[in-house]
């Protein structure tokens, strides 16, 4: 009953004409962002945060707008996967495996609609899961002291690193770069600057928005300059689009199973959407067996990763909202949004700002419906947008990023740092060092250090305090397993290679 009352509160916030309009705009922009190759959800949300902030939107409106963009981008990612064999972001990789063969067979329209429906099922399931699970987890989170929080942050870095990269050392370095940058600035307890090298511009610390936009968007520009815009799309043709009821019926159980798998993967802190779509695809593949024909363009192979991907995206919001620990790259960016809006995620969020939380959840449900309506009949429009050539798109994205950051701070120093992060992002990605741990490090570094410091102050410097409760020990063990296990599993769970022409 309490849940229903909360939901009613949420809808009363989210159903005003103004917020509804924002949701529709957000879904539209999000789908475009997701669909454009090289512009994934994290990227898109990151570029839009400074702009939405400069617009002076209040917390709820900004949240509604950005979560709509987030969900929209998750939907949009499938369009370029299916039509171009280019995943818009990492989780969409699995969709290319069967989606692209389907499109080559002339069933592009069917694949797009089917994946749209699968996305809807996955996202709807995850949002319901979020409604049921988040308040429970928020109550558990009240038991968390500094020792538990420190272990939890560690768990996020370990599992994220374990999955995001093929080399544990590299993901550890990535996390350290992020954490190291987070330490720069005036120390909260002594009021003295730390690690600034005497540069006054650094006294405020490094703005995580600058880092996110630089690592994602500016680095992308360098990649496009390197490749001279190859891999962007010209001449995609899509014939009449009808609703393939047969396929939807055929894959309904697949979608549900994939949603469950994806949601669970998403809830794990640090694991995120890539793992969700991967596990959903692999489990359906093994259920279908050899005769299932996965990889040759079967509808189930399209429905499973899309449902799993979107369910994981929703599931990733659970640890982000209740514990302040994001479960994926994009939720890390959403966490950045919350921090910009001065909202601290965590158990107190549910107690102190129920209108924000439930407004957010209601807007997720709304966004989901809007996206389904938008994506089935309007898929042709989005396909058209895909044909924007890279020589307009990338300069445009770069300048939007610059102007966004500039309108926020008005400082040339931040713009130069933006370029610096772009260069860093280019080299890191070239060297196969994941960039998401860097972002997570910058975002969470301050909180993680606070947890450690409070633990040390409470225990008078006794290190054993960090392992003093069963929850903390459990989290430490999970962190170690999450970091070590992928080294051994890597040979067994090989990622399927993308189809090549």
């Amino acid at each position: 009953m309490e849940t229903l009352a909360n939901l009613a509160l949420g809808f009363s916030v989210a159903l005003s004409p103004y917020t509804l309009m924002l949701a529709v705009i957000g879904c539209f922009i999000g789908t475009i962002i997701g669909a454009l190759p090289g512009l994934g959800p994290s990227n898109g949300v990151a570029i839009l945060i400074p702009i939405s902030f400069a617009l002076g939107l209040d917390a709820t409106s900004a949240l509604v707008l950005m979560t709509s963009v987030y969900y929209g981008a998750m939907y949009g990612g499938r369009i370029s996967s299916i039509l171009l064999n280019i995943p818009g972001d990492e989780p969409a990789l699995m969709t290319t495996l069967d989606g692209y063969p389907m499109a080559k067979r002339g069933e592009a329209g069917n694949a797009l609609v089917l994946s749209g429906v699968a996305s809807f099922v996955g996202a709807l399931f995850a949002t319901i899961g979020l409604i049921l699970l988040a308040p429970v987890l928020a109550r558990v989170a009240f038991l968390f002291g500094p020792a538990e929080y420190f272990a939890l942050y560690l768990l996020a870095f370990c599992t994220l690193g374990g999955i995001a990269s093929s080399n544990q050392a590299k993901s550890a370095i990535a996390a350290c770069i992020g954490l190291g940058i987070a330490m720069i600035g005036v120390d909260s307890s002594s009021g003295l600057p730390r690690l600034t090298g005497g540069n006054l511009h650094l006294y405020d610390g490094v703005d995580f928005l600058v880092a996110i936009v630089g690592l994602f968007a500016i680095a992308e520009l360098f990649f496009f300059i390197e490749s001279h815009g190859k891999g962007s799309s010209i001449g995609v043709i899509l014939e009449k689009v009808t609703i393939p009821w047969r396929y939807i019926k055929q894959t309904s159980w697949t979608m549900l199973r994939a949603s469950v798998v994806g949601f669970i993967a998403g809830v794990l802190p640090g694991a995120g959407a890539s793992l969700g779509s991967f596990l959903a695809y692999m489990s359906e593949k093994s259920i279908a067996g050899e005769k299932g024909g996965f990889g040759t363009g079967v509808p189930k192979g399209v429905a499973a990763p899309e449902a799993g991907n979107n369910a994981a995206a929703g599931g990733a919001l659970v640890p982000m909202l209740t514990l302040g620990v994001p479960g994926s790259g994009t939720t890390a960016v959403l966490l950045a949004l919350l921090m910009t809006l001065n909202i601290t995620p965590g158990p107190t969020l549910f107690r102190d700002n129920p209108d924000v939380v439930w407004g957010l959840i209601a807007s997720l449900l709304i966004a989901n419906v809007v996206l389904l309506i938008m994506n089935v009949p309007m898929v042709k429009i989005f396909v058209k947008i895909l044909t924007v050539p890279a020589w307009i798109l990338l300069p445009g994205v770069t300048l939007i990023s610059f102007t966004g950051i500039y309108s926020l701070t008005g400082s040339y120093f931040d713009l130069l740092m933006l370029i610096g992060f772009g260069v860093l992002g280019y080299f890191l990605r070239k060297l196969d060092v994941p960039t998401v741990p860097v972002i997570l490090g910058i975002l969470l570094g301050g909180n993680m250090e606070d947890a450690l410091r409070r633990a040390m102050t409470l225990s008078d410097g006794n290190v054993a305090y960090l392992f003093s409760s069963p929850i903390a020990v459990g989290l430490w063990l999970a962190a170690i397993v999450g970091f070590v296990a992928p080294m051994f599993l890597r040979n067994i769970l090989k990622r399927p290679q993308a189809v090549t022409d």
Binding site: I173, S190, Y412, G422
Partner: protein, 162 residues
């Protein structure tokens, strides 16, 4: 192989420098003697250990671009840096048009398209930012004094700027 070794060494040196800097962090009676240093030192230590792993167990080299492309990338970085310092003294439209045109040319070397992209993007983004989103500090153009222009450019020159 070599790439990862070099990267590992760079990280190792940075990590050691970071630890050294961390031990020099000023403290006072509010923060206690070691708490502000503890976490930065831990981060440096983890990074140093991980970088040693890379030095001794490197991955295969990535495909580095050809030297011509390196030139292009350096040009792009310089163009963006000049843009960053010029947007305040010159206003939005002119630097944006030039930057967009150069970047566009670098992705697809076609002069006519590049000019069109520069003018089009600059005008479009100005209208969107100024009149649709109404961002406050976007100014169409400014006519700077030579002194202001020099001040802005000198930021990019090491040891001359501030």
């Amino acid at each position: 192989m070599a790439s990862d070794r070099i990267f590992g060494l760079v990280i190792l040196i940075t990590a050691v420098a970071y630890i050294a800097a961390a031990t020099q962090i000023q403290t006072n009676m509010f923060s206690g003697e070691y708490l502000p240093k503890l976490f930065p030192v831990l981060i440096g230590a983890v990074a140093a250990i991980s970088s040693l792993v890379l030095v001794f167990k490197p991955d295969p080299d990535p495909d580095w671009p050809a030297s011509r492309t390196w030139g292009n990338l350096v040009v792009a970085v310089i163009v963006l840096a000049v843009y960053a310092v010029m947007i305040t003294p010159l206003g939005f439209i002119l630097p944006t048009a030039i930057t967009a045109a150069i970047l566009s040319y670098q992705i697809m070397p076609n002069a006519r398209n590049a000019v069109l992209a520069g003018i089009g993007l600059s005008a479009l983004l100005f209208v969107v930012f100024k009149f649709v989103l109404m961002l406050g500090n976007i100014v169409a153009y400014r006519i700077p004094t030579p002194q202001k222009l020099w001040d802005a450019i000198s930021i990019l020159i090491p040891f001359v700027g501030h």
